[in-house]
Amino acid sequence: MNIESLMTDVCGPLVLLAPTVLFAILGGLTLTGRPLPEKLINRMCISAGSLGFVASLLMLGLMLAGHSRHVAIEFGEWIHLPNFHLNVKFVFDRLSVPLAILSFLLCSTIGSFATRYLHREPGYQRFFVLLSLFMAGMVIASVAGTVETLFTGWEFVGLSSALLVAFFQERPAPARNAFRVWVVYRISDAALLLAAVALHHLTGEGDFDRALGGGPWPEGVTPLSAYNSLIVGSLLLFAAAGKSALVPFSGWLPRAMEGPTPSSAVFYGALSVHLGAFLLLRVSPLLDQSLILCVLVTALGLATSVYAYLAGAVQTDIKSALSFASLSQVGLIVAEIGVGFRYLALIHLLGHACLRTLQFLRAPSLLADFNSLENAIGQRLPSVDRGRWLSTRAYRFALARGFLDALLLRLVVTPFVQTFRWCDRQERRWAAWLAGPGAESRSKPEEWS
């Protein structure tokens, strides 16, 4: 067996199969109503994560040994119609392999951490089902070789994120926040789907090698014109903005902290929040083609960074402060992508993800340590003047998180809900009139929750 076949027949499939099989087993058993012991779940999760980690490391080693910068694994044409093709293709290159390694490493670490953190929690199995779905989604999105495959991973990540925000489901607040997160994700998904279809239409297929040029990342040259690159790139930027909580969608990030700390760490500190930046890195040949797109990306990144810095400066709880700190760095990474520092952005992304995971996981015990310290010295620790240096107006702006949520609520959500509620009332009247006297609707219009 030579290096080539070892990469395409063993390592590549293992990277993909490890998280997918784990999700299929855990999800299938949960669906059929079979509770599993905590130890078994943990062992399965760690084993799958480790297997994927080793396979992706081996892939990296083999690529370095074979001086290969681009390994494509094709599983054939999933759909083959005379004028429509969907390929299942995965690509291992300088961008996808580090992110796949990072995904396995962090998901396994979080799985191990959560074993103790969520011990005897009623939703223990549910957490691991969603974590395995997330791991599968991250790995699929990382190594996707076509825009449709990337979309699949993207959706898996979105669904698992939203459901984990609602993990503590006895309280209504996590559910409400999960819904908000999901709404933003759906809008971002819609943009990605449109971008996928546009790319498919313009290049004949959704294959990145064809749409973004055949060279190894990031040296590909897209065959799309500057105008088409701008259109597709803008849709992708919109999708990335939703997923990575860039301005104006940043409001969901602190809300997502309702989930358990391990999921906050891996989703909003490390992986999920960087997926938008990863998408921009993956389609960087489009950026090279359009200066306007580069300016847009840079401006959005910088605006997000400044916004997150200001909002983070006045946060009073550790998870919110960390989430804004994370967002501030994501903004910088996006700006780096915009100005063309692709490798710097990738290294920044990897380093930031590891550091932020550590900070998130340390957060609960840090609070306990502070309490012990205060008990030991018999007085409060000196308080930090959070954001006192800001002017009153800037302080209010930061405290209200830039009024972004209020703005979206007033400009989009409220008119939408009011319009459709008015339609609902009119429809009920019309139905009552049609049904004749004495006939009442089986349900009453009430407040929207």
């Binding site: 999933w78 969907l86 699949t152 609602a166 239409h201 809900v417 459709f420 509620r421 019309w430 349900s443």
Partner: protein, 467 residues
């Protein structure tokens, strides 16, 4: 006797009628229900056999040809998988009927409706198809009357449907391609729009789904009978402007209904609007009349029917446990029925074309076709699916999260419900992972329909051979 000597299609259509007579004579609801399950199961087996005989190319025996000289009920590539689909929906709905609903779910009427529906989906003779479509509107009247619910809204809409259908059908038959053909097509188009519940004529559909027993309500709408009528009666002969009007009405309906589904506070009404939005997307493919979009539309038809039935069955199972489900508060049901929660989520997301499910490829095909034909249509479809996805998760969160109400009552799914819902899930996920055979078959159908249309309608586009 070999398989080719058995009149499978005729048997599949007539067996439910025999079942209706037999179960009508059984007084005990439980025994009637058991007989109903047996008859629907046998019908499913017969329709699957008919499909296998068709796809294997075995020459099959037609009782009609022998008796009448021509076969009015027969299979082609379009309806060969639809017949088992309709039979499966009836079988699963019957199987999943909880004990508490056995008295309310009329097995006799359900079997009668199944027979009519199978006859519609097997019929290729337009005048008979018109008659069957008219006949199909009658069982719901009996259902509403039996439940002492007002019939007027339904009756007004269906009376209009029948008038337009017969008028349009007669006009098309008599005038051929003459001066009245346009008017006849328009009448037929309005009939189809009415039957499919396109806005603003959707009031009857919401009313029906709100007032009928959930099982019968699902069965009446989810096979998308109106779509079959559109493909058989309108698509081959209608001028482009008729299809464009259907497409426009469907586009408006899909976005409007998706928005309405998102703000509903009652699970039945939510399901009604959600169904309407998804069903409208299927019709949009007709307007685009390109092979990819039409293949997507036909694929979406099967995936939507299956997923929406599964979704409806999970809601029905919930209704059987906690009564009418209101969406103004959190119910916290996950802890007591986790399997139902997962099934709800998967079937709901399958309806909106979530990756890994049967609807994904169909949605991709429709959106691709729509973007190519008209970006506004593509945008509308994507917007509607995004809103529907939001609506599914909103309802999931309202039903399954929140404080758990202490109760000694077990809400775990029974074995029959589990079987029905797991069957739907297996098909939805299995079809999602291996979609090629189904999609290729729908693509062939789409090309055949468009080729026929190119012959009958002057100026209609001829499907390209591909590249």
């Amino acid at each position: 006797m070999t398989a080719s000597e058995i009149p499978w299609v005729e048997l599949a259509i007539s067996l439910p009628l025999i079942g209706a007579v037999v179960t009508g004579r059984i007084r005990d609801p439980r025994r009637a229900f058991q007989a109903g399950v047996a008859f629907t199961g046998l019908t499913l087996a017969l329709s699957i056999a008919a499909m296998i005989v068709f796809f294997t190319g075995t020459p099959y025996y037609s009782l009609q040809e022998r008796l009448l000289g021509s076969a009015m009920f027969r299979l082609d590539e379009l309806n060969a998988p639809l017949l088992p689909l309709v039979a499966l929906l009836h079988f699963l709905t019957c199987v999943a009927t909880p004990r508490s609903k056995m008295r309310r779910f009329s097995v006799g009427w359900s079997l009668t409706s199944e027979s009519i529906r199978l006859a519609i989906f097997a019929c290729q003779y337009p005048p008979l198809l018109l008659a069957l479509l008219v006949l199909c509107v009658l069982p719901p009247v009996m259902e509403l009357r039996n439940r002492r619910e007002p019939v007027r809204a339904y009756a007004i809409h269906m009376a209009l449907f029948v008038v337009l259908l017969i008028g349009g059908g007669a006009g098309l038959q008599l005038s051929g391609k003459g001066a009245f053909a346009g008017w006849a097509s328009a009448a037929m188009m309005l009939a189809i729009l009415l039957r499919c519940g396109m806005a603003p004529t959707h009031t009857w559909l919401i009313d029906w789904l709100e007032r009928a027993s959930f099982g019968n309500a699902i069965l009446f709408v989810t096979p998308l009978t109106g779509m079959y009528a559109a493909v058989r009666l309108v698509l081959p002969v209608a001028p482009d402007w008729v299809l464009n009007t259907i497409g426009l009405a469907s586009l408006v309906t899909t976005v409007y209904a998706a928005g309405m589904a998102l703000i509903q506070n009652d699970a039945r009404r939510f399901f009604a609007y959600f169904f309407l939005s998804q069903a409208s997307i299927v019709l949009i493919g007709l307007e685009l009349h390109t092979p990819a979009a039409l293949a997507g539309s036909l694929s979406m038809w099967i995936s939507s029917s299956l997923s929406l039935t599964g979704f409806g069955l999970t809601l029905r199972a919930l209704e059987a446990r906690i009564g009418r489900v209101d969406l103004t508060r959190f119910h916290g049901l996950y802890r007591r029925t986790p399997s139902l929660a997962i099934a709800f989520m998967i079937t709901g997301l399958a309806c909106v074309g979530f990756p890994g499910t049967l609807g994904f490829v169909a949605a991709e095909l429709i959106v691709d076709g729509a973007v190519v034909a008209d970006p506004v249509v593509g945008l509308g479809v994507v917007l509607a699916t995004a809103l529907n996805g939001m609506a599914v998760v909103r309802v999931y969160l309202l039903l399954f999260t929140g404080a758990d109400e202490p109760s000694t009552l077990s809400l775990i799914m029974g074995p029959r419900e589990r079987f029905a819902i797991l069957t739907v899930l297996a098909l939805v996920i299995g079809g999602g992972l291996y979609p090629m055979p189904g999609v290729a078959s729908r693509d062939r159908v789409a090309r055949t329909i468009l080729a026929e249309r190119a012959v009958t309608v002057p100026g209609a586009a001829v499907p390209a051979a591909g590249h």
